[in-house]
């Protein structure tokens, strides 16, 4: 085990994954710090806050659940909210499946547990199809390791130092900026850019839905628009033509 672990850490793709994740780690760290502070400020004890950060390991679900816990909402409301916030991971897991299926179920589940947003986005940007000769899993574990550390260390600091960390100057916005930069780096062609605009608009328009279901609505809307453009039907062709008119580019790739 220890020798295979050493081989993993020495694999060049492990370092590549860690390095590419480090670009957004400042944002992850700021977000982790804010989440740590928020748990304690909501009235959770320090041991329970530590348990939550190490076990739940899902920033957006935690940030959605924490105010509800602080307000004493019923458990099922908190779970329903977290479930809806996490529904995007169900979509992601269908995407991960071909990459992970060669591993036994236990290892697969461990890999799945680590599939947070940023690991998903960076990985799918880099690898288009499953192959076992380019160190995909090593890359994934390198980026997961980096994001785990960049999240957990500041989160623990936030829990321990909750009373002295200032939050009124907008620290949490660094996490939003990290996601924004990552989103920009994914704008590969007109079709994906258009789908992203649709998703953003749908998320704002559907914001009033309970349990943050607006995220699910937005993903569904963007995927539909994307399929419409790719499908080559009449409406899709018209959208594509009007997108291309401003600046001709190569076909839809991604």
């Amino acid at each position: 085990m220890s020798s295979s672990l050493r081989a993993l850490v020495r694999h060049p793709q492990f370092a590549t994954g860690a390095r590419e994740m480090s670009g957004v780690s400042l944002g992850i760290a700021a977000w982790g710090l804010v989440t740590g502070v928020a748990m304690v400020k909501a009235g959770l004890s320090i041991p329970l806050s530590l348990l939550m950060t190490f076990a739940v390991f899902a920033g957006s679900a935690q940030l959605a659940a924490i105010p509800l816990m602080g307000a004493g909402s019923p458990a099922w409301v908190i779970w329903a909210t977290a479930l809806c916030v996490n529904l995007r991971f169900v979509i992601f897991s269908a995407h991960w499946r071909p990459f992970f299926m060669r591993f036994p179920r236990g290892q697969r589940m461990l890999l799945g547990y680590l599939t947070a947003d940023l690991n998903y986005v960076l990985f799918m940007k880099k690898f288009k199809e499953p192959r076992d000769d380019e160190g995909q899993i090593e890359y994934f574990l390198g980026s997961s390791f980096m994001s785990w550390v960049a999240w957990q260390v500041p989160s623990v600091l936030g829990i321990v130092l909750a009373d002295v960390v200032p939050t009124h100057w907008g620290l949490g916005f660094a996490g939003v900026l990290a996601l924004l930069g990552l989103g920009y780096s994914l704008l590969s062609d007109k079709a994906t850019s258009f789908a992203a605009v649709v998703a953003g608009a749908a998320a704002v328009a559907a914001f009033a839905l309970p349990y943050r279901l607006n995220i699910v609505v937005a993903i569904a809307a963007a995927v539909c628009v994307g399929l419409m453009i790719d499908g080559g039907g009449d409406a899709g062709r018209r959208v594509l033509a009007s997108l291309m008119r401003s600046k001709p580019r190569d076909g839809v790739t991604g």
């Binding site: 004890s45 076990a55 458990a75 991960w96 499946r97 990290a178 995927v223």
Partner: protein, 109 residues
């Protein structure tokens, strides 16, 4: 919320993380993913990011920003300009925060 209740909630949240992230990884059985689903999934990562980020950029308390005295209105264009100039995410964060923090601290935006 008592410690016991909080513990139960946290255990449930952990189960939700595991089940949602592993949903399509659990079964060994052949999963036939139709071609249109595979094509549609190409749009999912960016859509999820946009869905999480855009409300954070444009809304507060469930409403679109209705004042020009909001630090985000200046931080986001600055961060965006940096990104398309240099293509670096770290710099995007730094530039955005360099605009946001003074506006918040000095002017209370």
């Amino acid at each position: 919320m008592s410690n016991l209740e909080a513990l139960i909630v946290i255990i449930g949240l952990t189960a939700i993380t595991v089940v949602t992230r592993c949903f399509f990884l659990i079964s060994e059985r052949e999963l036939r993913v139709p071609g249109w689903v595979q094509r549609g999934l190409r749009y999912a990562p960016l859509a999820a990011l946009a869905a999480v980020v855009v409300p954070e950029l444009l809304m507060s308390q469930g409403q679109l920003i209705s004042t020009w005295q909001d630090a985000r209105l200046y931080a986001v264009p600055a961060a965006t300009a940096y990104f398309f100039w240099r293509r670096g995410i770290l710099g995007t964060i730094v530039v955005g925060m360099a605009v946001l923090v003074p506006l918040k601290l000095l002017l209370g935006w």
